[in-house]
Symmetry: C2
Subunit: 620 residues, 2 copies
């Protein structure tokens, strides 16, 4: 299950048995350390990754409202009938604010961090946290059957198989919450003091509600002064000790990204970001950067003739670095535009006042190289560079690099290739193709994280570009290169963790091998397109021009079809699809890049079919 | 202990008992799945984060040499005397290539991933992996006493307290390796077949060598055909099963960064990067971005009048975005330069041809605001903007924002503040100070990861800047703002994981509170400077001008002092210090920002004192 982002704290009650300790404040404002226990609970939730905390208050609500002013991630909802209602009514009050799975907590708890972590990492979508017996009095016992709960009761005689004690921290799915709300609505009239535990007991006959058990966690619910003293003398110090020693563990749910990058990554790439804090000016880090530069060049077979220059930026940054740094003021670039990324090259040149001539055709049309040659001949004295997008993900077309390369070499033009969505997915040999500059980013077929753009440069051309008057600063290609080669580190603060992930991703690329990755992608493409055709879908562009890494699919004309609905249906089942962009027909797009497999594609196709069937969508 | 980056595999032997299974190849080339077991071992090492694998080969070394050609992270060293020497001689051969703590493995092992993970996360710097008994024959038994090993032997009678069986995977510190090399050198003459196990046995009397025990891991050493069959039918499939289900766990060693950012982060910020793969064009991610924008403004009390614009870049990128986007072609910026970051603003303006007048003084001198006013008066018709660095980390000076603000307001200039190293560390109120643009980055006092730069903009000024002719594309402030506010997402691919970390870091900032963070930093500064003075150090600038987040310290004149030596001494003890930069005297620098505490500062001071004493360095 996913780690949770939202928590609801039930804090409406009066806590009348604690008056001597907490004056007339709500129970959560009891103090054992420097802060009230509610603020300690909030700090723990935040540490565990929760970003939205809803407190249901009632009794002396102003205390909690003050927390909402202090913390931007805290909000409150008032249960005006707190004196006459039970905890379920408070929980019910949150129904406008709950939009996903949540953690549900009581306000009078002190607990060790690991208990939150256990629920965050639970394998169950609904899970009640259960501890071994504490013998503290006032316990709620949990009756279980296998891995599900059967009932919750303060009367141990009502429990058949004892699972342990209810802690008061639970993981509740949106689905269960909705069911609780629906059920409770009918109960409030008869039982205004209906508690959420009762509601769970009522529902667990008709649906599975699971539990996570911890034998001896350090925790306590503080209901009276004896509890308070016990907490102060024993449990609270123990919690502090355990929390200082806790090590973080995170289970990550697998999602299948079919959008054109950032692509799905392996867990080992994700965890590669978790490293000791390091200053990137240290030699140790410099060696990491130099190794990455060397291996990026190796991926496109650049040998000793090429240099990789890295930027903290998206891929577009690398594009800007190249275009602004290598085309002289008095020369012109010929830009081939058959998609949004060809257009982006024009926009960058426009932004900087760089001269360019454009070959523009409908997005989705293949380039006619005779026409391109004609343009070159007509502008022979002007054009010094030719710029092309290899895999134009607007439509999923693969532009013919060999053909561009032949023209570039015939007319002595420098060749600039945007290989954003092909680098490391489709074999490219920069030397054979005579590519002078090739741009890509860390988050596409190389399967790293977003945050690094890079240009792989023919060293001789790059050295020459150093003589040009700079057009910018941060993205000055030559200056960044100089810094990298002279100091062995990046000129501006690098995204340290993204580079560790990129190092890992490159290593995993070499483990899979160039051929292995290209084959896996190609096989996924075959499974995907065969499945789509079987379902009756049509493609925007002729199959012979497909890049085989992204496919643009013509949207169904059926009135029952709705992209957003289809997207959401698939999203909640773990598949991310992508809308179309500016093509001559309405499309949606599916990429088959990243750390996913043919199995994932097959499961996706099953889900897509289910969506079509459920919504009675006909593909003509 | 730190996770390891280097592994050494001992693979020189002939494996003569396996001829029937592996022909004449080395044992590592035995196949159970699609790849030889050595390549499976390499893939596991890479998955675990190892980036440098040294294989010591001998018998049919060409097989291993081919792996070094295939994988950039594999290299080989030949033991030419493999037929007459033991494993320790092979290990000895690696002495030129080992530069830190390593994993040591035998080549004929199959093993589950978790076994590597156990050693990566070991609490010991030297640890032998020990398994429960396998009964497979040919075992090496491990004699133990408490948590240390006593001896290793194939003869169980020689074992007093049995710890278990030696797996053949060990964690060896550089220190232990050097001792092994020194000891073994004297043994080879008498015992050429000396094994590394023998060497460990010999050394464990004079130093602690620990072990990590796993009761029933799935693993096997394959020495003969029976082993091979057992592996194929039972152990290998079990390993596959366990590896598919393994969840990654990483222990992170704490390092104390005293460099001026990227600053140290909490473990929860580090782990916040480990999230499910997500497409940043999803609404879920858009909400993350919008929440971050809102809260960045809140940190500087911008209320509804300000907008945060984020970039995938270092802080310099945000600086460039602001300077290039808000100063009209026919107007001039007054840049106050008393350090490298003031100079950087000049460089950016130069790169883009933006008009600027500079107030330049020695780095480390406080700004004379009368002189600044004179310049403004003299150039009243030209100047539209005044740009200043709040905390100039070149020297650790805090420039007086109130004084600049007064001038800006008196002469109706827009005020641009580089708050890179003060934002979230020193309280700033952009409304009160009438700041129009304030820049910072994700990796300084806000305690997130590097990779995001941002500009906090007065909305009215920002909207007006939209009328200016763009100078660039990626860093066009207004266009990025428009995209953010209209589409609710970043214009170019954002560094997804860095933003999750920033979200977490911002939440932890609010947990600590503005006052709490400023107090902690100020207290660390007091402890640091008091300690430094006690040791006899002098500061570059007068204390009243100190930013109290970074201190520039005049280097000792003593001939025994050497910055690099001092740096390295401290680095290996977990403290990162920073060299000086361009000040009027030679300095080194210490920052007190990030997720560190007064305790850390005190420990640092003790270590610094130790360095001075050990090297007999006098501070006059």
């Amino acid at each position: 299950m996913r780690n949770l982002r939202q928590a609801v704290i039930l804090a409406a009650g009066t806590g009348s048995r604690l008056r001597g300790v907490v004056d007339d404040k709500p129970k959560g404002f009891l103090k054992l350390g420097e802060k009230p226990i509610i603020e300690e609970s909030i700090a723990k939730l935040v540490r565990s990754g929760v970003t939205d905390i809803v407190i249901i208050n009632g009794y002396r609500h102003e205390y909690y409202d003050a927390l909402a002013k202090k913390y931007p991630f805290v909000s409150t909802i008032k249960n005006p009938d707190f004196a006459e209602t039970g905890s379920m009514y408070s929980f019910f009050m949150a129904r406008e604010r709950i939009y996903g799975d949540i953690l549900l907590l009581e306000s009078d708890l002190i607990y060790e961090y690991n208990m939150l972590q256990t629920l965050h990492n639970s394998i169950y979508s609904d899970s009640i946290l259960v501890s071994g017996r504490t013998g503290l009095g006032d316990e709620v016992y949990v009756g279980v059957d296998g891995d599900t709960i059967v009932n919750l009761s303060k009367d141990i005689k009502k429990i058949k198989h004892l699972g342990g004690e209810l802690v008061g921290i639970s993981r509740i799915s949106l689905d269960l919450y909705r069911e609780m709300v629906g059920h409770a609505k009918n109960m409030f009239d008869r039982h205004p003091r209906y508690d959420y535990e009762d509601c769970l007991t009522d529902l667990c006959n008709s649906r599975s509600i699971n539990y996570d058990f911890i034998e001896k966690p350090a925790w306590m619910e503080i209901d009276d002064e004896d509890h308070y003293k016990n907490a102060r003398d024993t449990v609270y110090p123990l919690i502090g000790e355990k929390d200082r020693a806790v090590s973080i563990k995170k289970n990550i749910e697998r999602t299948v990204l079919l959008n054109p990058g950032p692509a799905a990554t392996t867990d080992s790439v994700k965890y590669a970001m978790v490293v000791e804090d390091i200053c990137p000016r240290e030699q140790e880090f410099g060696e990491l950067v130099q190794g990455i530069r060397r291996d990026l060049v190796r991926i496109v077979h650049g040998g000793e003739l090429y240099e990789a220059v890295l930027f903290a930026s998206s891929g577009t940054g690398a594009l800007e670095a190249c275009l602004t740094s290598v085309i002289p003021d008095d020369r012109t670039a010929l830009i081939l535009n058959n998609g949004a990324y060809g257009e982006r090259m024009q926009q960058i040149c426009d932004g900087f006042g760089i001269r360019h001539i454009d070959y523009v055709i409908d997005w989705g049309e293949p380039i006619d190289f005779k026409e391109v040659e004609t343009i070159i001949i007509e502008n022979k004295d002007l054009i010094s560079h030719i710029a092309v997008v290899h895999h134009e993900t607007t439509v999923g077309i693969l532009n013919n690099l060999t053909a561009v390369s032949n023209l570039a070499s015939k007319y002595h033009l420098e060749l600039i290739v945007d290989a954003m969505s092909s680098f490391a997915g489709i074999p490219i040999d920069v030397k054979d193709l005579g590519i002078h500059y090739l741009m890509s980013s860390s988050n596409k077929c190389i399967q790293g994280m977003a945050g690094v753009g890079f240009v792989i440069c023919n060293r001789e051309s790059l050295e020459k570009s150093g003589a040009l008057k700079p057009r910018n600063f941060y993205f000055n290609l030559y200056q960044n290169y100089r810094f990298l080669s002279e100091k062995g580190e990046m000129q501006f603060t690098p995204p340290v963790q993204i580079l560790y992930a990129l190092r890992q991703a490159i290593n995993e690329y070499f483990i899979e091998t160039e051929e292995g990755r290209a084959d896996r992608y190609a096989q996924m493409y075959r499974v995907l397109t065969a499945g789509l055709k079987k379902l009756g879908f049509k493609f925007l562009i002729e199959e012979k021009f497909h890049a085989k890494i992204l496919t643009a699919i013509i949207e169904p004309r059926d009135k029952n079809y709705d992209f957003t609905e289809m997207h959401d249906f698939l999203y909640w089942r773990g598949f991310t699809i992508y809308p179309g962009k500016g093509a001559k027909e309405d499309t949606f797009r599916l990429a088959n890049m990243g750390a996913i497999s043919c199995d994932d594609i097959e499961k996706f196709l099953e889900n897509l079919q289910e969506y079509l069937t459920l919504n009675n969508i006909k593909l003509s």
